[in-house]
Symmetry: C2
Subunit: 466 residues, 2 copies
């Protein structure tokens, strides 16, 4: 069991706390001082204070047992610190330090010592060779990259675990830029003690987490990993997996990166799908999937309706739907008649519904409302070509939003273009909570994840929506 | 033959010039007054001046024959204007007006009249139902969207033709945001007279154009279209095609959009490939391909080297290379020995070369230089995880740039992340002219287009590079 203290400690001791500019020990102290609400104990063998806080020479000198110990000192001293942490009664440790399994046989031996120390001391260890934890709710934050280059999302329901620290940090930064709220970010490094499957299992039961993302290179215990995913699915939490090492050369690169075995991707893929994971094929889609699954409910089926003010973009969306295994909804004759009566003669009232380049917000509202009301439609893609002078971004957003409120089916927005469009897409996301993308194909992929998630829920007997 | 006057007229008459706020006739006048260097003749039956310029009631009253006539009046008056334009000696016309073939049989008849008038008058007509032309070099600009929402690229070598006006405008806007320079943007609408193949043929011989992009829904004369692409290839200009209507439902949507027949995509795809076109699968890749082909030379082969400061991103790039049909370069034993001597022991010196998270610019320079110098490498992907405190964006860019200068092989840059990273990617593009992408997979696709282009050049016997 992973103790809650790994994420919500009342007190944290930082072994290797420092004032040295650019040091990991200083960056972690600054993070904690800025946001962490519990007690902070800097531990530094040579100092009386660190950044204004009283410092201790060793863990045994602390006035109480710290819930969590963060370790950022050279590898060779780490096993001893873990022993001491156990002795004083800490529940968990995060070992940031590198220099273990990933550097060869000597490091591997040190890592075995570390694990033995943890087992004997009865405390759980995250890492080593990791960035550790960012918990947006408790303010625990060991991600030591400089704040001007490392964005960290505000509180939300997305949890992310990463085998790679550097790529994990980049994803964390991107999630922040994308306006996605997070519960926990966990860089687990070498997974010497705490395994990726334990983290997923923990997150499956974490009340702050609604969606789980994972960057994985290799897993040691495939069976436990798949089981953990199933637990998350039972708790109605989608698990989005980006698996690296899909190709033969990629698998070779994995073993030179983290020393883990990537295994056959076909086998992984089949097992992941069976467990109910949502697999993304590339890094960009990871962000698309996490955003969409965080903000929208699962789709009850795969029939997609399109409302657009530009015919060309509607065709591209149609292609993307058909070629990705989703289905173009067939609108009912009632819907078609209704649209025919209310839209201009030149409008297309099949699917895609083309409300034409001069469409005012009211026309969008009529069309989106009618398409969403159609029982043959499970989800809707709304396209706004915003270069056109007639397009009113804010009013159109309101129109779409009010249709969404009435029908509750998932909707994403698409607007291709440059700066003006990009700013309005951000507005639509921020103010209406509607995922907004630059291309029809990306919008269709987003809906595809909601469709897959709906299928997973039904296949696992946990209902048609989240 | 398309007359040069369609893009470089000495004088333009605007039939339908107006001062009415929000009108097409006003927007076009404003565009021309702002940037067009030739003479502008507003034609308006009711006004003496338009925006300070002397206006004429009819074309026949102009003091000289205008090279080009832009027409933005209701459809039913258009054939008459075309006749008159021919009579006064104009060389070409752009008909912005809609209400022709795309609105049904009545419009189709009007369109036939328009074509007959053009043939009899001996002038060539672009459109109708189009946005017309933006020529970044001459300042001719009939794209009437408001300038605060419609970006237009500065001068450069990319030409783009679009069957869809709205989507074309969105692409134009996006090209601007992407920092891609353009020669000509052409929205050709219904292609009543001037056909898409004629435009490609014209651009194949246009000295200002180096790369041609096209958004196509359907072509009337496939043979002529393929022939025009071959001419462009012979002139060493890549033709990038985004074809809509790939699926059955997509093809149906095409015919309700532009009334053209999409045809079987398989047939198109085979013919396009044989002609030497570079096919992109989705809208985003159109921008990726145009940028990369505009800025970089063709690759002489498909063997890709990777230099990265993050193992995970290197693995994702490796996967993307292997799964997209490119090849991971096998570095020579000399290169490996050289790197082993100069990089830290923990660095990976196979391909991907991992210069580690603490890599200073010098380490990048050593690695990129060695990988580019290796005769077994045709193109290089450089990855910079910028959240890491050690990464120096500007100095690393300079290091990569100097290696590029020495070896001349194509290089793209990849940096995943949020705002800080995004800003630095833009800097790398702007200052070094190195295409920079947010994900390894997108970077690999970019290199894939250079590899394809190299293959096309060799297959058509026009040499290995551009």
């Amino acid at each position: 069991m992973i103790p809650d203290e790994l994420f919500s400690p009342r007190s944290v001791a930082v072994v290797g706390a420092s004032e040295r500019e650019g040091s990991v020990g200083r960056a972690i102290m600054e993070n904690l001082i800025e946001r962490f609400k519990g007690t902070i104990y800097p531990v530094n063998i040579r100092r009386k204070t660190v950044l204004g806080l009283r410092a201790y020479q060793r863990l045994s000198e602390l006035p109480e047992a710290p819930d969590l110990v963060v370790v950022a000192i050279p590898a060779k001293f780490v096993p001893e610190v873990i022993k001491e942490a156990g002795k004083v009664g800490a529940k968990a440790a995060i070992v940031i330090s590198a220099g273990f399994k990933e550097v060869g046989p000597k490091g591997a031996k040190l890592e075995e010592e570390l694990v033995r120390a943890a087992r004997e001391a009865g405390l759980r260890v995250l890492g080593p060779n990791c960035l550790g934890v960012y918990d947006a709710h408790t303010g625990l934050d060991t991600i030591f990259n400089p704040s001007d280059r490392q964005g960290k999302p505000g509180p939300g329901n997305v949890a992310f675990i990463s085998q790679s620290g550097a790529l994990g940090a980049a994803i964390l930064d991107w999630l922040h830029e994308s306006g996605i709220g997070m519960s926990k970010f966990i860089s687990y490094g070498n997974a010497a003690d705490i395994k990726e499957w334990e983290l997923i299992e923990y997150l499956a039961h974490d009340p702050k987490t609604g969606v789980i993302g994972a960057y994985i290179e290799g897993v040691e215990d495939g069976r436990a990993f798949m089981h953990a995913i199933k637990e998350a699915v039972k708790a109605r939490k989608p698990v989005v997996v980006l698996k690296a090492g899909k190709s033969e050369r990629g698998a070779r690169a994995v073993s030179s990166h983290t020393g883990s075995l990537a295994g056959s991707y076909r086998v992984y893929e089949a097992a992941l799908k069976q467990a109910g994971a949502i697999i993304v094929n590339e890094l960009n889609d990871l962000i698309v999937a996490l955003k969409t699954l965080s903000w929208l409910p699962a789709a009850k089926g795969d029939r997609i309706g399109i409302v657009t003010n530009g015919g060309g973009a509607g065709v591209l969306a149609t292609d993307a739907i058909e070629l990705s295994g989703l289905r173009m909804a067939d609108l009912s004759s009632d819907t078609i008649r209704y649209l025919r009566e209310r839209l201009p003669p030149a409008a297309a009232v099949g699917n895609p519904v083309d409300v034409l380049g001069d469409a005012p917000p009211e026309r969008y509202e009529v069309a989106v409302d009618a398409v969403m009301a159609d029982p043959g439609v499970d989800a809707v893609l709304v396209i706004g070509i915003m270069q056109s002078p007639a397009f009113k971004p804010r009013e159109t957003m309101e129109a779409v939003r009010s249709a969404v409120r009435r029908h509750g089916k998932p909707v994403v927005f698409v607007g291709p273009g440059g700066e003006y469009t990009t700013n309005n897409l951000k507005m639509i996301e921020r103010e209406a909570g509607i995922p907004a993308f630059k291309t029809p194909e990306e919008g269709v992929r987003a809906l595809g994840y909601l469709v897959t998630w709906g299928k997973v829920l039904r296949a696992h007997g946990v209902g048609g929506e989240r």
